[in-house]
Symmetry: C2
Subunit: 107 residues, 2 copies
């Protein structure tokens, strides 16, 4: 019950649906990319990404100070069916602005 509710509540938010769609479309992205693309502050995105990760939808790969988030594979049947539903929604996404490649994310 716990786990199922964690999975479901991860899906129960518009921002998270958009993040899932965005990562599904563009592959692995770091928080700073999403921050720039979505125009949201970092702490908000970081929190939502954690919820999606804990819900079993995302994986995180650390590379230095960057945390690259991407759709976890393979997804189990329920999560992958959920993602399929989300793909059918035709959600409008903001353009990708990839700071981590243009050099604006320095370290």
């Amino acid at each position: 019950m716990e786990i199922f509710l964690e999975t479901v509540s991860a899906l129960n938010d518009e921002t998270r649906i958009k993040l899932l769609t965005f990562l599904d479309t563009h592959g692995a992205l770091c928080v700073c990319d999403l921050q720039e693309s979505f125009g949201m502050i970092q702490s908000r995105l970081s929190r939502h990404l954690k919820i999606l990760k804990d819900g079993g939808f995302l994986r995180v790969d650390r590379c230095g100070t960057w945390a690259y988030y991407s759709i976890r594979t393979p997804l189990d049947q329920f999560r992958s069916e959920a993602l399929a539903e989300i793909r059918c929604l035709g959600i409008e996404l903001p353009p990708l602005i990839k700071l981590s490649e243009t050099g604006d994310c320095k370290l």
Copy 2:
């Protein structure tokens, strides 16, 4: 997006998961049966049942003053996969107390 969130948020509550499981196990039941079995007040159940109905999981058949709720069939792929997940959770349910057959629900 709207519709998907309505579907998902219907699943995002422990009471509703139990109600789904209960109806999945026992078939069509009226609100007064659920009220007695779950020991919850009527307005609370009525509200949750409406959310499950609006989320596409339940149908309602009116028979006089009774409203019989049951799992909608057929369920689409996502909802039916969700129900399959829920069946795997092994949720403990209260015993069925069927007032509508023992005559305690009079009219």
